[in-house]
């Protein structure tokens, strides 16, 4: 068990409805100081509503939110000063320059970090004189992260920060987020990219239809749920699928387009298969697909891959 004092944020049984729709239906979780915490789920799962309740932007119907050891109340400057928030759908005036935005928003706080330094840290220093409208999607998001960090917040909320970014910009953002974590900040992020959460997050919750359906460290979630690993064996030679049948770690063998697909549990399955292949000296091409968060998510929700996207 984690000690209570380590928790920077505690959410207990949060509920919020819009008319008849239960957007958030009893969500609970806590975030440790210094970790990257992920709130995952498909669009409309209640991620943004949850974050906005914590950020004090939205009132909620029931439940408790405790942050920095204090009970949260909406629209309270005490919390605003200590939080860094990147909003999911936000913008700046088209013809505002990057440095002007940082200079302007820093004037709202007594405690500031040097925004010039921040631009360097977030790798957008070379864009400081650009108009906001002339930035790429990734650069805009970097500016928003910079704005969220201008008051040197203890906790940073990033709501789908990489949605709509190209793969390269996304990787770049991941790197930056790890750097921010190394500065000692706590990050609460929402995303619907499972591989992103797996790479970045220390712990996650998976949210679906306003409820938490799973939570924990990504690796643990994958292992605990006994999600199967998949190995595809392909060979120019004729291989009898039966040779893998007696392995204890193997659960299922099937033949697809001349390839043998083996499903098994744990890391043992790969070792076992490799042993069989080397024993018989068959030349094969092995593809090992480890289970990932997406598999966890799909197995929990019963959605298919297509539904999830």
């Amino acid at each position: 068990m984690v000690k209570e004092a380590k928790m920077i944020l505690k959410v207990n049984n949060l509920k919020k409805r819009y008319g008849k729709v239960k957007a958030v239906d009893g969500i609970s979780f806590s975030v440790k100081r210094g970790e990257i915490f992920g709130v995952l789920g498909p669009n409309g799962a209640g991620k943004t509503t949850t974050l906005e309740c914590i950020e004090g932007l939205r009132s909620y119907d029931d439940g408790e939110i405790e942050i920095f050891g204090e009970k949260m109340t909406t629209n309270n400057d005490f919390f605003k000063k200590k939080m860094g928030i990147q909003l999911q759908e936000s913008s700046l005036p088209q013809r505002m320059k990057v440095w002007e935005a940082l200079d302007f928003f820093s004037s709202f706080y007594n405690k500031n970090v040097d925004w010039k330094d921040l631009l360097v840290r977030l790798h957008i220093d070379d864009k400081r004189n650009n108009y906001f409208s002339n930035l790429s999607g990734g650069e805009k998001q970097r500016v928003f992260v910079a704005l969220a960090m201008i008051n040197d917040p203890e906790i940073l909320f990033l709501d789908e920060i990489t949605t709509g970014l190209d793969p390269q910009a996304r990787r770049h953002m991941w790197k930056t987020m790890k750097e921010i974590k190394n500065m000692g900040k706590t990050i609460v992020m929402s995303t619907h990219y499972m591989e992103e959460a797996e790479y970045l997050c220390d712990r996650v919750i998976i949210v679906d239809r306003g409820k938490v359906i799973a939570g924990g460290a990504p690796r643990k979630l994958i292992n605990n749920l006994g999600i199967k690993n998949r190995i595809v064996v392909e060979s120019k030679e004729e291989v009898d699928p039966g040779i893998f049948k007696d392995l204890k770690s193997v659960c299922d063998i099937s033949l697809k387009d001349g390839k043998i697909e083996i499903v098994g549990t744990g890391t043992d399955v790969l070792m076992d298969i490799a042993r069989v292949i080397t024993d018989r000296q068959i030349k094969v091409d092995l593809q090992y697909k480890t289970a990932n968060l997406e598999d966890v998510y799909l197995s929990l929700t019963g959605y298919t891959k297509e539904d999830a996207i």
Partner: protein, 246 residues
């Protein structure tokens, strides 16, 4: 305070960068004055009580500038900022909504005044504009009128769903009002049937108070205007405060 100064400053900077967005506030009234001034000139006439066309038009056009700020500039700009998620940003800043409100009031007062100054300077230089009122009083009356229309602007901004609807509704309220309030066509030239509508238009009271103040009219001659405009300030700010969305 620092944030208010920065915000007014940066909004003014953006205003200069996007001056074409303020065509109606800054240039349109001057163009009107140039067109009608070149047709009617500014010779004193009995019809205008011993003053010229330009003399009576400038205070009326100032009313027009004030109305443009309230019915177009503010609702369109705020609705568009809301649509694009720019407004929401103020909600996450400490003191953000208050600072934004105060800055908007100062900024829109400022650009309305720039438009007004441009109009007065043009009238003075080209047509020898005459002013027989008290400078301090006309300044106070102008400020009351402007604040009244700023409050209407915030009220409209609260009610508008999008920049497009703000544009459409603002325009369709503004243009008939400009014609029926004495801002463009002198009130005494309007038929009685129109005058029945005029009493319901806020701009009517601005044009009246500005013209009376401009020529040094006595306080009791515009006391109804003062009453109506003050009422608008209180009512609109109150409703705007209650209904404003970020």
């Amino acid at each position: 305070m620092k944030a208010v100064c920065k915000m007014v400053f940066i909004k003014t900077k953006l205003f200069i960068r996007e001056i074409e967005g303020f065509f109606f506030t800054i240039f349109f009234p001057i163009i009107m004055l140039l067109i009608f001034g070149s047709i009617y000139g500014n010779k004193p006439s009995d019809y205008f009580g011993g003053f010229g066309f330009v003399d009576v038009s400038v205070p009326a056009y100032i009313g027009m500038i004030i109305a443009i700020t309230g019915f177009m500039s503010i609702p369109i700009s705020i609705a568009s900022d809301r649509e694009r998620g720019i407004l929401k940003r103020f909600r996450i800043l400490p003191g953000g909504s208050m600072i934004a409100m105060v800055s908007w009031i100062i900024f829109y007062y400022l650009i309305t005044t720039i438009g007004t100054a441009g109009l007065i300077i043009t009238g003075k230089l080209l047509y020898g504009l005459r002013f027989t009122g008290n400078t301090l009083i006309i300044f106070l009356l102008y400020s009351l009128s402007t604040v009244a229309f700023l409050s209407i602007g915030f009220l409209l901004a609260s009610l508008m769903r999008s920049a497009r609807s703000a544009n459409a509704i603002g325009m369709s309220l503004l243009f008939p009002m400009m014609f029926f309030s004495g801002a463009i066509i002198p009130m005494r030239s309007l038929p009685a049937s129109i005058k029945h509508i005029s009493v319901y238009l806020p701009l009517t009271y601005v044009v009246d108070i500005m013209q009376k103040g401009w020529f040094g009219g006595a306080l009791h001659s515009y006391r109804i205007d003062l009453f109506v405009l003050s009422g608008i300030v209180v009512f609109s700010f109150l409703i705007a405060k209650l209904t404003f969305r970020w």
